[in-house]
Symmetry: C2
Subunit: 217 residues, 2 copies
DNA sequence: GTCTATAGGCGGATAGAC
DNA sequence: GTCTATCCGCCTATAGAC
């Protein structure tokens, strides 16, 4: 090294330009979503996120308090941008929701980074004491409710049992999530939007028809 | 502390009994599967695994070389014990495979630790350069092939298109995997075996029937 | 109000003693 | 086969510079 390493005068890091907190927080959230998705939450280093923003890792802790809290806010940010992709603030209802889910699967094939973040973080959330556990549990509860209502709308008369509708709602979410992992590992061999559409059609047909006559389970 | 902390004589750890390598490796694999499931791969500490076996974490590195390699061997061990649960060494074929999948989902409700290990590790494997990436990609390719063949067996005449069968195979695996995460977060509200059975029935009906006449997609 | 510097503690990896 | 010793990298807390 050619610069002077005088003990009392450490090689000074170029000080970052002073930026308003709101803007800085937004920059950090974008970088964090990227790095969390690429490395997973536990392997991700605050210093890597900080480097992308041009500050030190202590700067992140100043804005977010802890790595756990940063994760929670990253997930909120992800959900916010996800709904903003579609014109309405509110997610669609009824049969339109099913088409929305297929469209989402199709859109996801163009944003592998976001898909990876979601897949890794949602699975990691089931580990003991994970900071995002409540966030994901609430998310799934909410989604199941939305889809359950939409399924009921599509099967008006002599509807299927509550158990069937609940299971179908869980399954539609599960297919979307499970396909993401297979697709990330082998994009050529997995067609996410087509498979999601197929399962939804099959479940709607099953719930709509009077299959119980010939049921042998 | 009341014991003597003489500098030259550090409090000596009780030395473990010398155990044959094969036996020790097996003990480590059992403990590792447990800890990886409870904490996730990255959060899991070699020292915690070592403690259960009664050695230091360096002992594990002696037997497995690295934490990454330990994970790979843990997954192989898991698969080996999984097939041993059922009488035949070979997984069932044809329609019997579908019943096997539902039975597996039911059995999984009694072994949350194993389910957690699988869910966390399979999702983590999609991160950049993860040591288990090839292992999981091959696993999914193999499983899709098995299920694809079984679906064809169940729909003999004027069968559905290859694309439909492929998508159905991916979807059945995806439902099982995705349901595990929802179930781990909220066991009371998710019925894994019932939902898996529902999706399989719905897909079989869909692939078997001549739905294309009224298809509007 | 925004950020950096310093220091402690833990986890993984390597080398060498017993 | 197992241990001790040592290194480096990461998260976190505290203090203080601008």
């Amino acid at each position: 090294m050619t610069t002077h390493d005088v003990p009392g005068v450490p090689a000074k890091r170029q000080r970052s330009a002073r930026v308003p907190a709101d803007q800085r927080r937004a920059e950090i959230l974008v970088a964090a979503l990227d790095v969390f998705g690429a490395r997973g939450y536990h392997k991700a280093a605050l210093s890597e996120i900080a480097e992308r923003v041009g500050i030190t890792h202590q700067g992140i802790l100043h804005h977010f308090g802890s790595k756990d809290q940063l994760l929670v806010e990253v997930l909120e940010y992800r959900d916010a941008t996800d709904v903003a992709d579609f014109e309405n603030q509110e997610p669609p209802h009824g049969p339109e929701l099913m088409r929305h889910l297929v469209r989402t699967a199709r859109a996801n094939t163009e944003r592998a980074g976001l898909v990876q973040s979601y897949a890794v973080l949602s699975a990691e959330s089931v580990t003991d004491g994970h900071p995002a556990q409540a966030s994901f549990r609430d998310r799934f509860t909410h989604l199941r409710g939305l889809i359950r209502d939409a399924l009921r709308d599509s099967c008006p008369s002599d509807g299927p049992s509550d158990a069937e509708v609940d299971a179908a709602a869980s399954s539609i979410i599960a297919v979307m999530d499970g396909l993401q992992i297979q697709w990330l590992l082998d994009p050529e061999r997995v067609d996410m939007p087509y498979a999601v559409g197929l399962v939804i059609d099959a479940l709607l047909a099953r719930l709509g028809s009077d299959h119980r006559a010939g049921d042998s389970r």
